[in-house]
């Protein structure tokens, strides 16, 4: 956790001021017709990409905001991604 994360409110700060909130999987699914398996996938399954992942972080020891940012998981560094590409990671491929 030595790298730098950019808080949308406070700017670049030490990563250890932040808390990890998991991958950006999009909003909570509707409960109607939701199977327990699909729910479990939404909550617990992750893509764990070796590369750039879109993630939720909280500025825990700072302003307390939740925000998403991109991180290169192979180098453990925050990376700037074009606005076009922002947004949640695509859902898991089902086999």
């Amino acid at each position: 956790m030595s790298f730098i994360i950019t808080c949308p409110i406070c700017g670049p700060r030490n990563a250890y001021e932040f808390g990890f909130g998991g991958e950006d999987k999009g909003p909570r699914p509707d409960e109607e017709a939701l199977s327990p398996g699909d729910w479990c996938d939404y909550v617990h399954m992750n893509q764990c990409v070796a590369g750039v992942a879109r993630e939720w972080w909280i500025h825990r020891s700072g302003c307390g905001v939740w925000f998403t940012t991109s991180r290169d998981t192979t180098r453990n560094l925050e990376v700037q991604v074009e606005t076009m590409e922002k947004g949640p990671n695509p859902p898991l491929e089902k086999e």
Partner: protein
């Protein structure tokens, strides 16, 4: 020993005496001595005994690269005395010896048994039968090892910590580092400079060789150091060891305090925008038989002993070196009075001719392509055999000092830590960085440079590149200086010789771990083919020196021995901390940060026994009685007061506040009635209960709610996380510290309250589960809740923290006639247990759902709210085989009270005791257990196994809760 006549390069003040004790004797030195130089001045040559073979070891590098000079100082083991300043009154004791000094060691016979201990000996031999290992390890540990740790030792001193940020961080305070710092600072950037030695100067510091013109190098170092120290935007830290280098240029280091500093050591963590790494070189040890004898030292060690501390390192010396710094030292030391028998250089050619001429002028025999092959003598060096690097001709020289070095090796650890690939460079013989990542700029001698001016210019260039990283346009300057660099010779050819042609039985590649070349050969014979594995098998480089001594030689030796043309030497991995660091330094000054309630001091003064619970200090009880029986009885029969300030307290308001509450609370929060408390719970996504508390509605879209003490810190984050996609408009305020809470509980509670408020607090006007806001004593605005956690008539007053002490005093005074007394957590725990009220975390665990603890009635299905945990609750509500929370009594009231035992049925564990207490009120033990659902019916009997029950299981039976006042009349009175 007498010091030589004062030189300009001295870092000692001979007029100021320092005295320390070593063994049973007192030794005199001078201000500026390290412990090692002080002892050396007094004739001490053996500083330690080696790990395995108890061989005598002496001064070798003076920069702390091996464990040779680790001693116990003032009861602290493993102090590197070679770079620890001597202070008056220090008590120094040798380590790993039976006596107090290292001169005599009854274990020295171990050296003769080394043949019996090949590489990996213990692991390969002492495992069959398995029983032998514990016995063996005990004896091995007794015979081997470094310092002894005394469990009663308490670390004295002050340990500070600082976290500076900077534009450019320069590591290394030698010529390259200093010029880099100055060049970055010229552009107005903030610069931090870190230097391991107590002064700036690096390789220039002690050398009289001429810089440009006539000024000696050491004067040039002074010039640079003065510039650095007077440049306001450079902050330099000396006597500071860098221990780590991490992503985005986070550098960790620690500084040893000087006498005038307010700290003994301080942890430094630097965040920089750009890094210059100018850590220079250390010497690569020369490998030959008995290369570890006291009296054998590296070039820099010998040279600095004389130039910095005024100590001629020996009487008659032989030099076996591999670079020009070795020749320079020989000439200078000869001029300072050292008798030099001869100088052998592993290189056939390439020497600076002015240096070889200088040796000839002084009639010192010079042997090209020669090196030391074996040293004679035991505790003292007696002589050395020299021979050609390639041949077998040999010649013996008498001497008591052998200055031995294979050449230079760069300190690249800080690059390796950043995953910089190091490539073996055949010209320099160095592992050099391949394309350092953005923002990291190596400079100086570590690149193989030797020319003094060129070293400085490379520093300038690195400083400029760092300035460019910080957004300054440096293109032109960088172009100009690169052209200037071209005029210089560039990296010099390095000496390649690794080892003398020896069998290597006593040729130590690693002093710390007593690893010999023969051990390495054995490892290779077993099939270990890469240095990384050989390192582990032979433990070379795993000692306190962290590979400083074998770091370069091991891969070179392995590559050379394997004799495969495609085998490029590969360095082993380095890891933080690069230098052993005191735990006290990492711990820093703030070991234990905790919170105190507003009543902390007055509660403690009344005899409260304070305990650390989570982040808070809380009162466990107010008497010596661990069961707090008097406190319990007083709440049941009169009235008690509890400081409940640690409860989480929050305000949520705004148009979407209700939606947020609906998201996290399992109940339907729409159905809230003014003036009435709603009790509810929060679950996680798995339906497991994580918190319970109360909510009141104070106005339109304005709510006040409480959480358990343990959840207070995470609640805001939790609610914001679970609404993060919704963009709702609400505000959440953590009032936990701004408000305090006093719980007034007991049958006399109303009588006390009536005395201090004008509000109507009769049972009709303020009933059970009611919420009211009124003034106490006409001045304290209180939010009052009628709750019954302890099972009696009870009021919770939430007031601003600043009013807490006043309210406490008022209640105490008003309650005197009704027998009011303090009660603490222990009493509360028993009281609520008798009532069957649970504490989340105490009667629940990670996998316990809302239904498991019997709070399923709180749950309201409201799919549109997408309540956290609802989907899982739906799924688990009827699930079989879950652990359910039930009350228990003992089969016989006379049985002992269980603590935390397991429930055993048919020799299987079927659940466990969460909480149990002996209830004075009920005159029998009661408890709550989590037990498999099929055992959860009333009157089911089972046995409880307790840790120290000696096979006598306690028989318990499931009992109805609440145990006390099942109809709840007392809470509602």
């Amino acid at each position: 020993m007498n010091r030589i006549n004062p030189l300009e390069t001295f870092r000692i003040r001979p007029s100021q005496k320092v005295s320390i004790r070593y063994g049973r004797k007192s030794y005199q030195g001078v201000a500026g001595d390290t412990i090692a130089t002080l002892l050396y001045a007094n004739g001490v040559r053996i500083f330690s005994r080696s790990l395995k073979y108890h061989r005598p070891r002496g001064l070798y590098s003076l920069d702390g690269e091996c464990s040779n000079t680790m001693m116990q100082v003032n009861d602290m083991p493993n102090v590197r005395v070679e770079n620890t300043p001597a202070r008056d009154g220090m008590e120094v004791v040798a380590q790993n010896v039976a006596g107090k000094t290292a001169d005599i060691d009854p274990m020295a016979f171990m050296d003769n048994l080394s043949f019996a201990m090949p590489a990996g000996f213990y692991y390969r031999t002492l495992h069959k039968p398995a029983k032998i290992w514990p016995l063996a390890i005990k004896n091995i540990r007794k015979a081997a090892g470094l310092g002894v740790m005394n469990p009663d030792f308490r670390m004295p001193g002050h340990f500070d910590e600082i976290y500076p940020t900077t534009d450019v961080c320069v590591i290394g305070g030698g010529p390259a580092g200093m010029t880099a710092a100055l060049s970055a600072a010229e552009h107005g950037l903030r610069v931090i400079l870190l230097e391991n030695r107590p002064w700036l100067g690096g390789v220039f510091d002690y050398r009289p060789t001429a810089y440009e013109g006539d000024i000696p190098l050491y004067r040039r170092a002074w010039e640079l150091a003065e510039k650095v120290e007077t440049t306001p935007n450079i902050r330099s830290f000396t006597h500071t060891a860098v221990v780590g280098n991490y992503n985005d240029h986070l550098v960790t280091a620690f500084q040893r305090g000087d006498k005038t500093d307010p700290f003994d050591e301080r942890y430094i963590e630097i965040r920089a925008r750009s890094l210059v790494i100018a850590t220079g070189c250390i010497e690569r040890p020369l490998l030959f038989e008995n290369n570890d004898r006291p009296g054998i030292m590296q070039v820099g060690c010998a040279h600095r002993l004389a130039r910095t501390w005024g100590l001629l390192p020996g009487k008659r010396a032989v030099f076996s070196i591999g670079d020009d710094l070795g020749l320079e030292a020989a000439v200078d030391l000869a001029d300072l009075g050292l008798e030099i028998a001869c100088v052998a250089d592993t290189r056939q050619d390439g020497q600076d001719e002015s240096l070889t001429d200088a040796l000839a002028q002084r009639d010192i025999p010079f042997y090209r392509g020669w090196m030391a092959t074996e040293a004679h003598g035991g505790k003292r060096l007696k002589g050395v055999i020299l021979g050609p690097v390639t041949g077998i001709r040999r010649q013996t020289f008498d001497c008591n000092l052998l200055v031995a070095s294979a050449g230079q090796t760069p300190l690249t650890s800080l690059l390796s830590m950043r995953q910089v690939k190091l490539r073996y460079d055949h010209h320099t013989g160095f592992f050099l960085p391949d394309n350092p990542p953005d923002g990291i700029h190596p400079a100086g001698r570590m690149l193989g440079l030797q020319d003094s001016v060129e070293i400085e210019i490379s520093g300038r260039l690195a400083g400029m590149a760092a300035a460019a990283d910080c957004g300054i346009n440096m293109d032109k300057e960088i172009e100009t200086i690169k052209t200037r660099m071209d005029a210089f010779p560039g990296p010099v050819r390095g000496a390649k010789v690794v080892s003398a042609a020896v069998k290597g039985k006593k040729t130590f590649i690693c002093f710390d771990e007593d690893t010999t070349l023969k051990n390495v050969d054995q490892a290779m014979a077993y099939g270990f083919d890469v240095p990384e594995l050989i390192k582990r098998f032979t433990s070379a480089g795993t000692g306190p020196g962290q590979g400083g001594i074998p770091g370069h030689n091991l891969p070179l030796y392995v590559a050379q021995t394997q004799q495969s043309p495609d085998t490029e030497p590969r360095p082993t991995t380095v890891r933080a901390p690069l230098v052993p660091t005191l735990l006290a330094t990492y711990a820093g000054s703030q070991h234990d940060m905790s919170k105190r309630t507003a009543l902390h001091d007055s509660q403690e003064a009344t005899g409260g026994k304070m305990e650390r619970i989570g982040v808070w200090n809380r009162i466990r009880r107010f008497s010596e009685d661990v069961n707090a029986r008097a406190e319990i009885n007083n709440v049941r029969s009169n009235v008690g007061m509890l400081d409940a300030s640690t409860l989480g307290k929050f305000r949520i308001h705004g148009p979407d506040a209700l939606k947020a509450l609906q998201r996290v609370y399992v109940s339907n929060m729409e159905k809230m009635i003014d003036g009435k408390i709603k009790y509810s719970a929060m679950c996680n996504e798995d339906g497991c209960i994580i918190d319970d508390g109360v909510v009141v509605k104070r106005g339109d879209n304005d709510y006040y709610f409480t959480t358990s003490t343990g959840r207070a810190g995470q609640t805001v984050e939790w609610i914001r996380f679970h609404t993060r996609y919704d963009g709702w408009n609400f505000n959440l305020v953590n009032l936990t510290d701004a408000y305090g809470v006093i719980n007034l509980a007991g049958p006399n509670a109303r009588k006390v309250l009536e005395k201090i408020t004008a509000a109507d607090v009769s049972n009709g006007a303020f009933p059970y589960i009611g919420y009211r806001e009124f003034m106490i004593a006409d001045s304290i605005p209180a939010r009052a809740m009628r709750l019954g956690f302890v099972g009696e008539l009870s009021y919770e007053f939430h007031v601003p923290a600043s009013y807490m002490q006043a309210l406490w005093d008022i209640l105490e005074e008003a309650g005197q006639e009704f027998g009011v007394q303090n009660f603490g957590l222990e009493a509360q725990s028993t009281l609520r247990l008798e009532k069957g009220h649970l504490i989340i975390g105490s009667e629940s665990e990670q996998r316990t759902t809302l239904h498991d603890v019997g709070l399923g009635f709180l749950w309201n299905r409201k799919p549109s709210a997408k309540t956290v945990g609802a989907v899982a609750l739906e799924d688990t509500e009827k699930q079989k085989g879950r652990l359910k929370l039930v009350g228990i009594k003992m089969a016989d009231a006379a049985l002992p009270t269980p603590r935390d035992g397991s429930i055993i049925v048919d020799t299987k564990i079927r659940g466990y005791v969460c909480t149990a207490r002996f209830s004075d009120t009920l005159n029998e033990p009661v408890g709550m257990v989590l037990v498999e659902d099929e055992l959860s019916k009333i009157d089911t009997q089972f046995n409880i196994y307790e840790d120290d029950c000696n096979g006598r299981l306690i028989t318990a039976k499931v009992a109805d809760m609440p145990f006390y006042d099942p109809d709840g009349k007392r809470m509602k009175m």
